[in-house]
Amino acid sequence: MQTYLPVANLPVDIFLVAGMGLAVGFISGMFGIGGGFLMTPLLIFIGISPAVAVASVGSHVAASSFTGAIHYWRQRALDLALALMLLGAGIIGTATGVWLFTELRELDQLDLAIGLAYVTLLTVVGAVMIFESARAELRARKGMPPILRRPGSHHWFHGLPLKFRFKRSKIYVSVIPVWAIGFIIGFIGAIMGIGGGFLLVPMLIYFLRVPTAIVIGTSMVLTLITMISATVMHATTNHLVDVVLAVLLMIGGVVGAQFGARAGQHIRGERLRLLLGILVLLVGLRFAYDLIVPPADAFSLRPVRDV
């Protein structure tokens, strides 16, 4: 069944788009990531222009993360204080990222920057997560107790001033690394057109040692707020948000996110991290493939605003 998208200017199959929303929503609910890094390439693949895809995915991610966040809020697996602290620095990071985005787009090197950023971040983050969680998994198999927290193995930044106690996360840490993480997420998110959940989740787990369950809920709150503001910003500046596309994606997305969030809670932390690690690594390798393998067509087109 086809319907015409009034802003993207083309017809799409309703069930195909809602199905894509469902699948990505499931993954997003399960791992606490927005899923933009999966959805945007999918939309481009079915013929929607990259600009409309990036602008419209935000509201789908917002809907999925809102329903996920409600779920984790009810489970009390959410640290609002940490989320707000990350967000403050994230806004500055986003502004810096948006500026660089525009510069790179003018130079026609945006594709390259996005490609390289994806490859580097996804493969490194994915590989580290797989390695770490596989080790934890092996320890569990051998019957050894999991390493929950090693009091002696503090990172150097634990010595920094401005310490703050995040009660829900059970951590007592300087706000400087929290701000740094927030800034990086905002910056990278703006450049790559994604919420950055897949980066935030491992960063909170490995650097700040926030428990996995709390990380997912917290990441969702952060993703929700960034994506809501991204939707409004895109609609105001580029006028490229397609509400029909967004609604189709949302309907699939929220249902998927509900089931994903439930599925995620039945899986042990380290196994969840292993799965996310594999997913992230695969997407990273996919982008590496695009950069290294000769393209089918060396030429590409991009509409330019008339001057």
């Binding site: 015409y4 083309l10 809907a63 939707t231 949302m250 393209p295 067509d297 060396a298 509409p303 330019v304």
Partner: protein
């Protein structure tokens, strides 16, 4: 005085059969995009009124219909391998070129007239003027310029540029019909239709028409809102997202 006569002779030579009349009509002047729009064919009908009796008919007519969509600027980029990875190394801007360009004829363009005539009348994709920004200048290039070739090829792959040598059918020697295929992702706006009649390799008559592609109803409402009320539109979209997310969590609540 001899100069004036010469000028008159030249004019007469240039339009040897200017008395031929071309009358065309469209099946639909207004293509409406609704929620079920999936592309459409607009049919162009027409007749030739030969003025010199049956003599001219012996040679037969050739017809070229050129449909041009609203103008847009595009950048064509070229990738090259740099340090092992594929990078956009160079680009060219095509300035205010048609977003849709269809050349419909009754036989291959090259058979209709000689290359000079085709070139000067911009008949066919190869001869249509596609100005590029090259440094400070804006000019069309030679037809085998790699950027021009790539641009036409990419637009053709999208179904937005086409040259169809069998799209015009002569039902009788003077009555013709041509289907203008508008793909599903057609840009909206006014489309110019230029109809040229050739006989014996020379242009004998020319006329034009236009059609409009517009969004109607809900589609138009959404597109207008997105363009004119960006902030409100964004806020409404965000609220829909929150509402959908909240509804799902209510519907799926298990307690």
């Amino acid at each position: 005085m001899p100069r004036l006569v010469l000028a008159m002779v030249l004019v007469l030579l240039a339009h040897p059969a200017a008395a031929e009349r071309l009358v065309v009509s469209l099946s639909n002047h207004r293509v409406q995009i609704t929620s079920s729009f999936a592309g459409e064919d607009v049919v162009l009908f027409g007749t030739v009124e030969p003025d010199r009796g049956q003599a001219a008919l012996k040679q037969g007519y050739d017809l070229v219909v050129t449909v041009t969509g609203p103008r847009e600027t595009f950048r064509t980029r070229r990738k090259e391998r740099v340090a092992g990875i594929w990078v956009n190394v160079d680009s060219r801007e095509f300035v205010r070129v048609p977003s849709y360009l269809a050349v419909l004829t009754n036989r291959p363009v090259a058979d209709i007239a000689n290359p000079e005539t085709l070139r000067s009348l911009q008949v066919g994709l190869d001869n249509f003027l596609l100005p590029q920004r090259i440094g400070p200048d804006i000019a069309d290039t030679v037809r085998n310029d790699p950027y021009r070739v790539a641009f036409v090829r990419l637009e053709s792959e999208h179904g937005l540029y086409r040259e169809a040598p069998n799209a015009v059918t002569f039902l009788t020697p003077t009555v013709f019909r041509a289907a203008i295929p508008l793909p599903a992702d057609i840009p909206t706006g006014t489309f110019g239709i230029d109809v040229k009649l050739f006989s014996g390799g020379a242009l004998v008559a020319r006329t034009n028409s236009a059609l409009e592609v517009i969004k109607v109803g809900f589609e138009q409402y959404v597109a207008d809102a997105a363009r004119d009320y960006g902030l409100l539109y964004g806020v409404v979209t965000a609220l829909i997202a929150l509402l959908t997310g909240w509804l799902a969590s209510v519907v799926f609540r298990r307690d």
